[in-house]
Symmetry: C2
Subunit: 182 residues, 2 copies
């Protein structure tokens, strides 16, 4: 079972029907997650899309036995099991060099946007050469921020401490051949 070191990334290819269990091993960890399909010919892959999921399901987030959709509104990942309290954010962008600069930090601070770029660069799928170009142009699909808890109060958003405990996990089943990047 691979462990993702803090501030680093991992990727896993899944065939349709295969599942991945993502464990919050120490509790209170947020894990930015993306999914891209594997086209059969070199072409730009579909990607898991928070906005298409929201507007088709008419929910912020799928529940257990419901699916995240891709940017063509087809199921890509189904939540099969979730032992956490069920708070996962779908409203926040991945942290990025620009964000750390705005917060008074350094642009070279490890961040999820750069992690995704690194993961895609290391991906050997021929179709992914397109994705590198998109990401280098500044494109960044909305992540699924596993175990991140965001409260909506009117129009205000508030990041709260994650309420997942050590060992909490979520199981995601691939509905299409895809690569999960985290």
């Amino acid at each position: 079972m691979p462990t993702i070191p803090a501030r680093r990334f991992a990727m896993q290819r899944l065939h349709a029907g295969q599942s991945i269990k993502v464990i919050d091993s120490s509790g209170g960890q947020v894990i930015d997650t993306w999914a891209f399909t594997i086209p059969s010919t070199p072409a730009f892959p579909r990607y898991m899309s928070m906005t298409h999921t929201r507007s088709t399901l008419q929910k912020l987030l799928p529940s257990v036995n419901e699916s995240f959709l891709d940017n063509r509104r087809d199921p890509i990942l189904t939540i099969v099991e979730d032992t956490s309290p069920g708070a996962h954010d779908v409203l926040y962008a991945a942290c990025s060099p620009e964000r750390y600069l705005q917060l008074g930090g350094h642009k070279d601070h490890d961040n999820c946007a750069d992690n995704l770029r690194s993961a895609v660069q290391q991906c050997t799928e021929p179709s992914f050469s397109h994705v590198v170009g998109f990401l280098e142009s500044g494109w960044m699909p909305d992540p699924l921020n596993l175990f991140m808890k965001v409260n909506i109060n009117g129009t205000k958003l508030q990041c709260l401490d994650p309420d997942s405990k050590a060992g909490d996990y979520i199981v995601l089943k691939a509905e299409q051949e895809c690569i999960i990047m985290q």
Copy 2:
């Protein structure tokens, strides 16, 4: 003053500091809106990003005198004035051929995603050739759905009838050289 026919599109280039007034002429109309910057050299433009706006402002939507941000988290459009009740959706994807098929309609039904693709194809900015390629690959930035009212109830989303009245308008000021597409 140009009128956007129902189900059609328009675009307007703005210099930094210029404003555009978008009027709901008949009341209860939703106007999907996108903004792209004009790079000084041929390059992929930045785009108005709902998710970067949300996560930087920590709000679903800017208020009057606050700005939508681009995908590098810089201001791109500021809300200068808004005579509507202030409901504008930032959670729903643009309607698309796939959506009409899922709803039992026809894939050739006029839709906002195709409208954006048409607008970009007609745009003469050299940098926009990249955008056409991205859009044809299935990319679609989250729109700002002006005057669209969405209620959040727990995790459920509910589209309500727009509460804008005939003549209600919003004024958006460009913070960067950009093109608005609607």
